[in-house]
Symmetry: C2
Subunit: 423 residues, 2 copies
C-alpha cells in the first residue's frame, strides 16, 4: 500500500495571547516532527490568520529543536497573534476563499487554529468551505483563553497561569496592606481581566483560606454591582480586619447593564475595550467611606506572566497541541482536544474531544454555586475546581536576573502567489 | 570583669514595606539570638513606631527559629509597619519622651529602626533625646526603601526586588504587545512607583538590550514631561517597531511642577498620594495619536512580589539586619549599615556604615548620566549599576500552588505602664 505524500500544516495563534500559548505551539510542532510520514512542514501564520490571508508564513522547520523546546517557557505569541474576526461565510466568503487559495499554494492539508470561541467558529467555517470546494483540509482547534469561558472543556489552557498570577499577587498585596493599614491605606483594589466570565476574579479567592483572609470582596461580572451592599461590605471588613482587599473583574456591570468602567473604544470584534474598574471602585470607596486606598490594574502583566505560570497549565497547553496533531494524524477533523477532569483530589485529567461547531461562540460563566450566597466570594466547590489548575511551578530559565525567553528566527516561507490581499 | 546584664532590643518597621524587609528582620533577630550576652529579648513594634508609643510590643523570642527563618522569604511587614512621622524634638517632644518611657519600662537598650529617610531622621532624634535624658540607648538604622533614594549606600534593600519585578514584567508585557500589535494594541503603558526618584522606572530599562527592544520610552521624575516630544517618540516607535512600550514613573511632573496624575489626597508625611499616571499617558496617546492602548498600574504588587525577588536583594536585606546588631554589640550608635560596591563586573559588595544624621531626609535622584541624552532611556552606566541588583532568584517555598508565607504568632509583651498613649 502506497503511503500518500505528506502534506504541510498551518498553525496560527488567535486573539489575546497567554503565558502558555507557545507551549501549545511547541506541542503542535514537536508532535508534527514526529509524524513526518503524514505531516511535512509546519508553517505558522505571522500574526495569526492575517499571515495566512497575506501569505506571510513562517517556516517552523527552520527553527532549531532547542528553540521550539524553549517555546514551552516563553509567554505571548511567538509567531504573532491577531484580533481579526471572520464573519459568516456569506459575508466574508472572499476571505475564506483566499485562505483556501493560500493553503492550496503551499499544499497545506492541516489547519491548527489556536484560539478561543471566535477562532473555533472560524476553524469550523474554514472546514465547511474546504469541503464545499472539494479541497481536502483537516481542521483542528487548539483551545486557548485566559478567560476560561470555552464550553465542553473542564478548563482552558492559559487560564491556570493567570489564575496563579492573580492568586499569588492578591496574597502578596494583602500582606502589604495588612502591614500598612494601622496608619495608612485601608482598602486595596486589584482589577483583573475577564470581560464576561468571572473565572479570573474567582481565582483571586484562592489567595486566602479563612473568612478573615483576603480577598474580602470579589466583584464578579456574573453578579450585578450593588453600590450600597458593596460599601457596607467594605466597611464591615475594615471594621473587623482593619483593612479590605477587593478583587474586581474588568467586566463588572451596573444594574443598567453598562460596565462599571467603559473606556469607550471597541476592538475588532466589536467588544468594548475595558480598563479602569479599579479606579472607579476606589472612587466609590473614597466618596462613600472616606478610606485611604490603593489600586492596581494588572492588565497584560497577568496574562504574560510566564515567570509564575502554573505547571499544570503548561502541561495542559502542551498536551492540547500534541493531541491536536495526533487527532489530525488519525484522520479526525472539525474537532478540538479538550481537558477532561477525572478527579479533583487527587487531580487527574485526560484529553477528550469536542466538535468545533458545538464550541463556537459559546461562553461558559462561573456557575452560581461557585459564588457565595452574598455574591462576594467563592465557595468550597469553586476551590475544589480551581485549586488543581494553579498547582505546580514551572519557572523559566534565567539569565542575568531575567527570564531567558526565546526569540525565534521566524524565517519566511517563499511566496507562491502573485495576488495580494489587504487586511 | 563582670559582664553587664543583657538589655532588650526594640525593632520596628517603618514606611512602605518591601518584598525583603522581613529578611532584614530575620537578620536582626537571628543575629541578636547569637549575642545573648549583650542582647536579651528582641521586642518588635506592632505597626512600627506606633507599637512603641502605645506599648504594643511583640515578643519575638516566642517565635520559633523556623518562623524567623521563614521571614527571609515572606514579603511585607510581618510585625506591621507605619506611616507615622515624628517631627522635630521641639514640636513632638512628648512623643519622643513617651518612646523613652516605654523603652525604660521594658529595659530596652537597643533601638533598630528599619526604614527610609524619614525613619533615619527619627532614629537620630531618639538618640539625641536619650543622650539628653541620660538614658543609655543604642540607636541603629536599618536601611529599607523600594525607592532606592537613600544617600551614602550604593543601593537600598527592597529596591533590587522591585527592580527585578519591573524588568521582568516589562519584558513579559512587551512580548504580549508585540504579539498583538499587527491588528490590535499598539501602545502599552506600565506605571511604576518612585515618587521623586526614577530608580524603579530606570529598572524597566533592563527588560531589553538593543535599541529596538522594549521599553521604548521611560518617563522619569527627573526629566520634565514634554507632551509633544513624548508623542513624537511614541509615533516613531510604532512606525519603526509596530508598537511602543512605555514605563512611566508615578512621579513624572508637568512643566509647571504638578504631577502628571495627582489623586488629590495626602499621606501622613504630607506627600501627595499618586496613582493614575498610566491612564493619563494613555489618554494623551489616544488624543494625540489615536492608537489603541492598554495600561497597567503595578502599585503594591511590585513591592510585595516576593515570588520574583532578587537573590542579591534578599541577601543584602539580611546582611544589613545582621550588621545592625553587630554594630550595636560593638558599641556603635547613631549609625546605619550601608551597601558598599567594590566592583560591578563581577559584582562584589560589602557592608559599610553611615551616620544617621548624614542620611536623614536626603534623597538621591537618578544621576543625569544614567539617563540617555533624549531623556527616554537608560545608559550603559545605568545598566552597569542596575544589573547586579536584580541578579539571582530566591523563590519562596510553595504549597498548593501558592507561596507559603509565614504568619508569625505575634505574642504580645505584657504591658508595664499604666499610662496610655493615643496616636
Amino acid at each position: 500500500m502506497k503511503q500518500p505524500k505528506p502534506r504541510n500544516a498551518f498553525y496560527a495563534q488567535s486573539g489575546g495571547v497567554t503565558a502558555v500559548i507557545n507551549a501549545s505551539a511547541a506541542g503542535v510542532i514537536e508532535t508534527a516532527r514526529k509524524h513526518r510520514r503524514h505531516i511535512g512542514n509546519v508553517y505558522a501564520g505571522r500574526h495569526g490568520i492575517v499571515g495566512a490571508l497575506t501569505e506571510d508564513l513562517v517556516d517552523t522547520s527552520r527553527e532549531s529543536a532547542a528553540a521550539i523546546r524553549a517555546l514551552r517557557h516563553t509567554p505571548a505569541g511567538a509567531f504573532g497573534s491577531a484580533r481579526y474576526k471572520l464573519r459568516g461565510l456569506d459575508q466574508d466568503r472572499a476571505k475564506y476563499e483566499r485562505l483556501i487559495e493560500v493553503f492550496k499554494a503551499h499544499d497545506i492539508g492541516y489547519f491548527f487554529y489556536n484560539g478561543g470561541n471566535d477562532s473555533m467558529d472560524t476553524a469550523a467555517k474554514v472546514g465547511l468551505l474546504s469541503a464545499e470546494l472539494g479541497y481536502p483540509l483537516t481542521c483542528i482547534g487548539v483551545p486557548k483563553t485566559v478567560d476560561n469561558d470555552l464550553p465542553y472543556t473542564d478548563c482552558c489552557p492559559g487560564f491556570g497561569s493567570v489564575a496563579k498570577y492573580v492568586a499569588v499577587s492578591t496574597r502578596e498585596a494583602a500582606l502589604d496592606i495588612a502591614s500598612m493599614a494601622r496608619t495608612s491605606t485601608k482598602v486595596f483594589i486589584l482589577e483583573v481581566m475577564g470581560r464576561h466570565a468571572g473565572w479570573i476574579a474567582a481565582a483571586g479567592g484562592l489567595a486566602g483560606k479563612g473568612p478573615k483572609d483576603a480577598p474580602h470582596v470579589i466583584l464578579f461580572p456574573e453578579i450585578t454591582f450593588d453600590r450600597e451592599r458593596f460599601l457596607a461590605r467594605v466597611k464591615e471588613s475594615v471594621d473587623r480586619n482593619g483593612y479590605c482587599v477587593v478583587v474586581v473583574s474588568e467586566g463588572v456591570k451596573n444594574p443598567d447593564g453598562t460596565f462599571l468602567a467603559e473606556a469607550g473604544t471597541k476592538d475588532a470584534f466589536g467588544h468594548a475595550q475595558l480598563g479602569g474598574a479599579a479606579p472607579e471602585v476606589a472612587r466609590l470607596v473614597k466618596e462613600g467611606l472616606g478610606y485611604k486606598y490603593h489600586w492596581a490594574v494588572a492588565d497584560y502583566l497577568q496574562r504574560a506572566a510566564r515567570h509564575i505560570a502554573s505547571k499544570t497549565d503548561v502541561e495542559q497547553a502542551y498536551a492540547v497541541g500534541r493531541a491536536a496533531v495526533e487527532f489530525a494524524v488519525k484522520g479526525k477533523s472539525g474537532v478540538m482536544p479538550v481537558i477532561v477532569r477525572k478527579s479533583s483530589r487527587p487531580y487527574r485529567w485526560t484529553i477528550g474531544e469536542a466538535s468545533l461547531t458545538s464550541v463556537a461562540n459559546q461562553e461558559r460563566m462561573v456557575p452560581r454555586n461557585y459564588i457565595t450566597r452574598d455574591g462576594f466570594g467563592i465557595t468550597a466547590a469553586a476551590r475544589r475546581y480551581l485549586e488543581p489548575l494553579i498547582a505546580g511551578e514551572a519557572p523559566p530559565p534565567y539569565r542575568d536576573g531575567l527570564p531567558d525567553y526565546v526569540q525565534l528566527a521566524l524565517k519566511p516561507v517563499k511566496r507562491r502567489l502573485k495576488t495580494q490581499f489587504k487586511v
